[in-house]
C-alpha cells in the first residue's frame, strides 16, 4: 500500500495547499454553473432534455480537464525540483509511484466532479424545474457520468504522466496537457453531437467502453514505459 502513502501525501500536502491548483479547480467548477445560469433557451421535449444531459456532462467534464493539467504539472514539478529523486531511491516499485501520483490527483478531481455535478443538479432543478431535472438526470445517469469522468481522468492522466516522465520541463508538460485537453474537447463535442442524434444511453455506454479500453491500455503502457532509469536520466 505504499502507493497510497504517495497518493495521500499528494492530496494532503500538495493539492490542498497549492493555491494555484485550488484556483484552477475552482474555475473549472464554476464554469458549468455559469453555463446553467446563462442557458435560458432550453425548451420542453426531447431536445431540451438532451441539452440538460449535455449540461450535466459538462459539469463533470470541466473539472476532469483541470485534472489532466494538474497531473502533468505536478509530476514535472517534482522532476524540476528534484524531489522525485528520493522517491526513486526508496524501495518502492516503479508502478507504485505512478499509481500513487495518479490516485493522488484523481481523488481530488473526482471530488470536484461530484461537487460540481451535485451543484449543477440543484441549480438546474431551480432553473428548469426539479421534477423535470429528476426525470431526465436519473441516478443511473448521474452515476454513469461520474464513472465516465473517472475513466476519462485515469486515461488522460496516465497518458499525461507517461509523457511528463519523458520531458524535462513544466512548460513542456503543460503544452502536452493542453494538447490532451484540446483533443478531449474535440472528442466530447463529437460525442455530444452523436448523443443528440441517437436516442437512449448507447452513446454513453459506447464512450464508457472506449474509455475503459483506453484506461487498460494506458495503465499497461505506463507500467511498461515508466521506469526509474528513464525518469532519472531526464533530470
Amino acid at each position: 500500500m505504499k502507493w497510497w502513502l504517495i497518493a495521500w501525501r499528494e492530496i494532503r500536502w500538495e493539492v490542498f495547499l497549492d493555491r494555484a491548483s485550488l484556483l484552477r479547480t475552482a474555475i473549472f467548477v464554476l464554469v458549468p454553473m455559469l453555463l446553467i445560469f446563462s442557458n435560458r433557451s432550453i425548451g420542453p421535449g426531447g431536445a431540451g432534455d438532451i441539452a440538460i444531459i449535455g449540461l450535466a456532462l459538462q459539469s463533470v467534464l470541466f473539472p476532469s480537464l483541470g485534472g489532466v493539467a494538474l497531473i502533468a504539472a505536478t509530476f514535472t514539478a517534482e522532476k524540476e525540483n528534484g524531489t522525485i529523486v528520493p522517491l526513486l531511491a526508496a524501495p518502492i516499485r516503479d508502478f507504485d509511484i505512478v499509481l500513487g501520483k495518479l490516485v493522488g490527483m484523481v481523488i481530488p478531481v473526482m471530488v470536484s466532479c461530484a461537487v460540481t455535478l451535485t451543484a449543477a443538479y440543484v441549480l438546474a432543478g431551480f432553473r428548469y424545474g426539479a421534477e423535470r431535472v429528476a426525470h431526465v438526470l436519473t441516478p443511473e445517469l448521474l452515476f454513469a457520468l461520474l464513472v465516465l469522468s473517472l475513466l476519462y481522468v485515469v486515461t488522460t492522466g496516465s497518458i499525461a504522466m507517461i509523457v511528463a516522465a519523458r520531458v524535462r520541463s513544466s512548460r513542456a508538460a503543460q503544452q502536452i496537457a493542453g494538447l490532451v485537453i484540446a483533443l478531449s474537447i474535440a472528442l466530447f463535442a463529437t460525442l455530444g453531437f452523436v448523443a443528440s442524434q441517437v436516442a437512449g444511453g448507447w452513446p454513453l455506454l459506447a464512450l464508457g467502453l472506449v474509455l475503459l479500453a483506453f484506461d487498460v491500455a494506458a495503465l499497461e503502457v505506463a507500467r511498461r514505459v515508466w521506469q526509474r532509469g528513464e525518469v532519472i536520466g531526464r533530470i
Binding site: L5, R9, L17, P86, A89, P91, I92, G229, I232
Partner: protein, 307 residues
C-alpha cells in the same frame, strides 16, 4: 559491503561508465573523484539501485542491483547535492513519510529521534520551505538515515554549505564511519576527500584511473624539498646547478627566498645540496620535505590518464 564488478553504463552512444570495479568495506569512507562527466553520479545511482547497469553488476550487502534492486534500495541511504525536499511538509511529517516508505517500525518515533540526532528537534513542526540551506541538507541526511542503512551514498553533500556547516557535516560523516557504515562520497572537493576519506577511486571518462589509500596516493610521485634562506636566489641556483636537480625559485615568504627541487634519492642528494649551498655562503634557514596534497596527486593521476 559495496562490490562494483566490471560496471558499464551507456546512454545511447555515450559511454558513461566503462568496466569500473571497486569495493567499499563497512566502516570505510571511499571518495569517488573525477572531472565532470567522469561517471561519478552514474556510478552512484547504479549502486543505489536507481539506474540499471548496461553490463557488469554491483553487490550491496551481497544483493545484486540487477536482480534485487528493491532490496538494494532498502539498504542504501542516498544524499544528493540538492536537498530536494517537499517544501510544504513539516519536518516531522516529512521524515515520517519516508520512514513509512522504508517500512520503519514506529516511524513517528524514528522521525523525532533523527531530528534530535541532527539538532533539528526544535523545528519538527516547521515547514521545510522555511529552512536554511544548511538545515535542508541536514534534513536530506536525516531522510537518508531514516531506515538506518548499512550503505550511504553521498553525492556532493557539502555543496553550497558554509565552512562551519561543512565541517559539522564532515564530522557527522566520520561518526557514521565509526558506526560501521560503508560510505561512498562523490565529491569535487579534494580537501574534503583528503580530510575524511580512507581510500580514493578516481574515475576518468568512465574508467577507473586509480584506486588507493588517501595517504598512499599523497605519498606517491617524486619526493620534493624546499630550501629557505636569507639573501638572493641567484647564488643558491648557481650552487645547486652542478647537481642537475632542476631547482626552481618560489616566491619569497616572510622575507626569505625559497628554492624547490625534486629527487628520487634524498638520502644521497640532500646532504650534497646542503653542502653546496653552505659552501657558496648561502645562509640556509630550513630544508623541508614538501607534503603532497591529494589535489597534487589527483592532478598527476588525471595528467597520466590523459596520456
Amino acid at each position: 559491503m559495496i562490490d562494483v564488478q566490471h560496471l558499464s553504463r551507456r546512454f545511447g552512444d555515450v559511454v558513461a561508465l566503462d568496466d569500473a570495479s571497486f569495493q567499499v568495506q563497512p566502516g570505510e569512507i571511499v571518495a569517488l573523484l573525477g572531472p565532470n562527466g567522469a561517471g561519478k553520479t552514474t556510478a552512484s545511482r547504479i549502486i543505489g539501485g536507481i539506474l540499471a547497469p548496461s553490463d557488469g553488476d554491483v553487490l550491496v550487502d551481497g544483493l545484486s542491483v540487477r536482480t534485487d534492486a528493491d532490496r538494494v534500495r532498502a539498504r542504501c541511504g542516498f544524499v544528493t547535492d540538492q536537498p530536494s525536499l517537499y517544501e510544504r511538509m513539516p519536518l516531522r511529517v516529512y521524515l515520517g513519510f519516508f520512514a513509512r516508505l522504508y517500512d520503519v517500525r514506529d516511524p513517528d518515533a524514528r522521525a523525532v529521534a533523527l531530528a534530535k540526532l541532527l539538532g533539528l528537534d526544535d523545528v519538527l513542526d516547521k515547514r521545510l520551505g522555511a529552512f536554511s540551506r544548511g538545515m535542508r541538507q541536514k534534513v536530506a541526511i536525516a531522510r537518508a538515515l531514516v531506515h538506518d542503512p548499512p550503505v550511504l551514498l553521498l553525492d556532493e553533500p557539502a555543496t553550497a554549505l558554509d565552512p562551519e556547516m561543512a565541517q559539522t557535516l564532515r564530522a557527522f560523516i566520520v561518526s557514521l564511519r565509526a558506526r560501521h557504515r560503508a560510505i561512498l562520497l562523490t565529491t569535487h572537493d579534494l580537501d574534503e576527500a583528503q580530510r575524511i576519506a580512507d581510500r580514493v577511486v578516481v574515475l576518468f571518462r568512465g574508467r577507473v584511473a586509480r584506486i588507493g589509500g588517501t595517504q598512499e596516493l599523497r605519498s606517491g610521485g617524486r619526493p620534493s624539498f624546499r630550501v629557505s634562506f636569507a639573501g638572493g636566489a641567484d647564488a643558491a641556483l648557481a650552487a645547486l646547478a652542478p647537481l642537475a636537480l632542476g631547482a626552481t625559485v618560489l616566491p619569497p615568504e616572510n622575507g626569505l627566498s625559497t628554492v624547490r627541487f625534486e629527487t628520487d634519492d634524498p638520502a644521497n642528494i640532500n646532504p650534497r645540496a646542503l653542502r653546496a649551498l653552505l659552501d657558496a655562503n648561502v645562509r640556509v634557514i630550513t630544508v623541508a620535505a614538501e607534503e603532497r596534497t591529494l589535489e597534487d596527486a589527483y592532478m598527476a593521476i588525471l595528467a597520466e590518464a590523459r596520456g
